[in-house]
Amino acid sequence: MLRERIQASNYSFLDKLRSIDYLLILLIIAIGSISVFAIYSTEGGKFSFYTKNHIIRLSVFFSLFLVLSFVRVSTWYKNAYLFYIVGLALLITVLFFGISASGATRWINLYFLNLQPSELMKIAVIICFARYYHRIQSSDIQSYKFLIQPIILLIIPCYLVIQQPDLGTSILIAGSGIAIIWLAGLNIKYFVYSGLLLLVSLPFAISILKPYQKSRILTFFNPDRDPLGAGYQIIQSKIAIGSGGFFGKGYLKGTQSYLEFLPEKHTDFIFTLFSEEFGFLGSIILLFLYILLIYRIINVGLVSRSFFAKLYCFGFATAIFLYVFVNIAMVLGMLPIVGAPLPIMSYGGSSLLSIMLGLSIVMSCKIYNQEQISAY
């Protein structure tokens, strides 16, 4: 054990630089650049508030990512629970001191940024679970004693986020947590049973949803139910994407967004705008960039020695996949509108911060991939 520690501390700076995943950085820069152009387009080709802010945030958080990449993965491991507890504390703070916008209370005013703790919680849950399963023996995983703890750890933040209300983020947090439980090797039958249970309890679950959430779900099944109200977003988004065709309408020429038919075009519907202007071809390329990003993250997990790093990377990759999938499926009208940003692309500080934070941990896993973490 001592030997391992010595090994880990012996990484020279050159070694560290050598083991950086440059392709991953390149991918982040690529998606980041695309996002700047997309946000510039949402402002009708004017360099103003959103574009400026987005560029500043991108540069700040990207630098943060580079710096944090050199934090030892064991440091993340040690502070994993702390991370979770801080996240939880912030969520509770939101409950009492949060600031509201459009009927939801999700943010804490930090003066330089309105922080959305639920976004940080997405990462916190993954780190926390990775650490939790890191030390559990595979034989113990199936026991109820070790199962009940992560479930409780998952339910608390999910409940707090639903209270905001923010169904989308809550589902994403739950999804990432469940993904790690799955990766850790919990018996498939648990997933099957709980899946069935969810299906049975769905009608009851719907009955406790807020009216606007219910209407979103109903509208999802039939957008024409209320074409100017709840169905408006789905219909307009589909029109924008569909009318883009193969090559798109051209940069800054997306009539749907330019003429303000698209709602929330710089946040949740940024893909719609991109797809309208760059068409099928552009959309597939963007999708491919995301697949590459996920692949690179998984790759880091594969080369990492510690279970913590593996679980974290695979979990984070699944989380990224979930964000991308839920967002795109949503704007394509395949899922109800739940409010989930597209990683890196969407305008929003907290989301960007949490993604960059998550990526820096991945990078740290890569740099320190030979580090064996003892089960303290």
């Binding site: 023996q137 595979s138 034989s139 993904a179 799955w182 990766l183 850790a184 090797g185 307009q236 589909k238 029109i239 924008a240 994407i241 569909g242 009318s243 883009g244 065709g245 193969f246 009539t255 749907q256 003429l259 303000e260 038919f261 797809s275 068409g279 099928f280 959309s283 597939i284 999708l287 697949i291 996920i294 998984i298 997990g301 594969l302 279970f307 593996k310 679980l311 695979f314 699944t318 996949f321 999938f325 795109i328 499926a329 394509l332 395949m334």
Partner: protein
């Protein structure tokens, strides 16, 4: 080492589970890709259309109405420049403030402001509100001066209907006004309508809507989600409506209208060969220009309450007993059926010894009586007794066959005017059907002098006169120029007649249908007899319109007076024998006159009716005489112009 083995196992589980998840991810991404494919490639067209529908909004621009001209291409209805004030609603932040400013600038009263608010409620937020469609120059320049203070205000130079001959033609041309819900049901209006467009309300304006209305233009704008115009992307220019040419000669029309000034009545003039209506005047009249921008209450009440009823187009909607103007036709019918020898003599003995039938007495209009009368003299001096006896012998059914054939009992201009009346030519069947009563012989007797059930419009009398004057040929009366018929040929054929018209193996005494420009008579000599008698009536001493004659053969005309009773003449009236101006206006007789001119080689027929004018010879014939001179003076010009036109076509 057990620990280590377990760790290897755990590592394997994690990796395996990761690959299962990765497979699921690939599957779901494939799902997204196929959805993208569906939307952007398979259904692209559908969404492109929807996207265009979203972003493109159309504004219709009103077309200019087609003009209406007279026979000589003089403009009767034009489009004049007007000053309008429009409000672009989506450029206004505070409607109340803007309206308040405008109200003070152009001095709108409370009710007008109220109307504007009502109008605005019906409009969509991106529509244009027409505040005023006819500003004075002063108001217009004031608006322009303060334009920078008026949000969304747009001073517009537009066009609106203008009738240069105002009062002289309203009964022919009609007028325009705002479209009513009923107007909008008409297909020609529905297809071409643009809010604010004026549509024909009466007359040619109304019946020729399809020709006149034109096609609206379309301005396509790109708009944003809240409907604000971003840029114009397309402009299909509006198309002005077609020109409508009338057969009216505005100079004659004007003169006819002038002759009728201060009287209630009608004057119609028609080409006896072509059937072209040269003038169709009705009095009193009103100004159609007042209707274009909505007539005000005061003017409207003035028109509506006028006891002489200006709104009634007396030429085609006024029904009158023809009185003695019917006599030429009665005589023609009697001759055609061979009822009596024109040399048969009947004695008119005056009021002391009236005509008697089944104990009922029928008087002649002449107190002293006419003495011994033959048919020609009876027409010339309009002896009632002779016609009582002739009608009795003829019978009402035979009379009605000839009367209908010569143009009575059905409207003359088809569906050109929605108020044209059919009139009534009674017969026994009609009375049975309409009144469920049998016919009395006494009714036949008074029918013989154009009284009783019979009712005609002035234009029908004009047509009747024309068709006798042209030698008994059926013509097609019309007021809209018809270039498809070569009238030169028609005139030549009728005039030369015999060679070119096939002799029909038909019995002209039966109730048969005759085609246009075909003969209607049974024996030509009968027509000539009647024409000659009418000549006598005007140009020989003792003739009823002798005083209105011209000796110059260029103007010489033949006619027949009529005086139609509006109430039953009692024995007391007969005893009093009052002059026309001593009788209450409403109870005075209508004065009628029909004529054709020139007598040798006639070309025009004319009918004059003066309501409550007294006797036809005093009130109607002099007007006809004056107008005939004017018509004949202009004949050469008209002929030249029309021939020039036909040769061009």
């Amino acid at each position: 080492m057990l620990n280590r083995g377990r760790n290897i196992e755990k590592g394997r589980v994690i990796t395996r589970r990761m690959f299962i998840l990765a497979a699921a991810k690939i599957l779901l991404f494939a799902g997204i890709s196929s959805r993208l494919y569906n939307l952007q490639i398979s259904d692209r067209e559908k969404y492109e259309i929807l996207s265009d529908k979203n972003r493109i909004r159309e504004w219709k621009t009103p077309p200019q109405r087609g003009i209406i001209v007279d026979n000589f291409n003089k403009v009767l209805a034009s489009n004049d420049r007007v000053f309008q004030l429009h409000l672009i609603l989506d450029e206004i932040n505070d409607f109340d403030v803007t309206i308040f400013k405008i109200k003070n600038l152009i001095e709108l009263d409370k009710s007008e402001v109220k109307k504007l608010y009502k109008k605005k409620e019906r409009l969509k937020p991106w529509d244009t509100l027409v505040v005023s469609d006819n500003l004075t120059w002063e108001q217009f320049s004031k608006i322009n001066l303060y334009l920078h203070e008026l949000e969304g205000a747009k001073p517009v130079l537009s066009t609106s209907r203008f009738y240069p001959y105002a009062n002289d033609l309203v009964h022919v041309v009609g007028y325009v006004g705002d479209a009513s819900p009923k107007d909008l049901e008409k297909p020609e209006i529905k297809e071409n309508f643009v809010p604010g467009l004026k549509v024909g309300k009466y007359g040619i304006e109304n019946s020729q809507e399809k020709m006149l209305i034109g096609n609206y233009g379309i301005k396509r704008y790109e708009v944003n989600a809240s409907g604000k115009r971003i840029s114009q992307i397309d402009y299909i220019k509006e198309k002005q409506g077609n020109k409508v040419s009338l057969t009216i000669d505005i100079e004659i029309q004007k003169y006819a209208q002038e002759l009728l000034k201060g009287k209630a009545g009608s004057i119609c003039a028609m080409d006896i060969y072509t059937g072209e209506v040269v003038a169709m005047a009705s009095s009193p009249t009103y100004d159609p220009n007042k209707f274009t921008h909505g007539i005000n209450q005061k003017d409207w009440q003035e028109i509506r309450k006028n006891p002489l009823k200006p709104l009634i187009n007396k030429s085609i909607a006024g029904l009158y007993s023809p009185g003695s103007t019917f006599k030429p036709l009665v005589a023609l019918a009697a001759l055609e059926y061979g009822i009596l020898d024109p040399n048969k003599t009947i004695r008119c003995k005056g009021h002391k010894h009236p005509y008697e039938l089944y104990g009922v007495k029928y008087h002649c209009w002449k107190k002293e009586g006419h003495g011994y009368m033959k048919l020609r003299n009876a027409i010339k001096q309009s002896c009632d007794i002779y016609f009582y006896e002739m009608a009795r012998l003829l019978g009402v059914d035979k009379l009605s066959v000839i009367a209908k054939r010569y143009g009575l009992g059905t409207n003359v201009l088809g569906n050109l005017y929605n108020d044209e009346k059919n009139g009534l030519v009674p017969d026994t069947k009609w009375k049975r059907r309409a009144l469920d009563q049998s016919w009395f012989l006494g009714e036949t007797v008074i029918n013989g002098i154009g009284q009783g059930y019979i009712q005609t419009t002035p234009l029908q009398l004009c047509l009747m006169t024309a068709q006798i004057a042209n030698g008994g040929y059926k013509i097609k009366p019309h007021i809209i120029k018809n270039d498809s018929i070569n009238y030169k040929d028609v005139i030549n054929k009728i005039k030369l007649h015999q060679s070119n018209f096939p002799l029909h193996e038909r019995n002209y005494l039966d109730d048969i249908n005759v085609d246009y420009y075909q003969r209607m008579y049974h024996k030509k000599s009968n027509i000539n007899f009647v024409l000659d008698a009418m000549f006598g009536s005007t140009n020989e001493q003792y003739g009823t319109s002798y005083k209105s004659r011209y000796d110059d053969p260029t103007y010489q005309f033949a006619g027949k007076t009529g005086t139609s009773q509006v109430k039953r003449i009692t024995d007391l009236d007969r005893e009093l024998d009052l002059d026309t101006d001593q009788i209450e206006y409403k109870k005075r007789d209508h004065a009628l006159y029909i004529a054709f001119a020139p007598y040798k080689d006639p070309r025009y027929a004319i009918s004059v009716i003066i309501e409550h004018g007294g006797s036809g010879s005093k009130a109607a014939a002099p007007l006809a005489s004056k107008l005939i001179k004017r018509i004949i003076d202009r004949h050469k010009l008209r002929e030249q112009f029309n021939n020039g036109n036909t040769s061009l076509a």
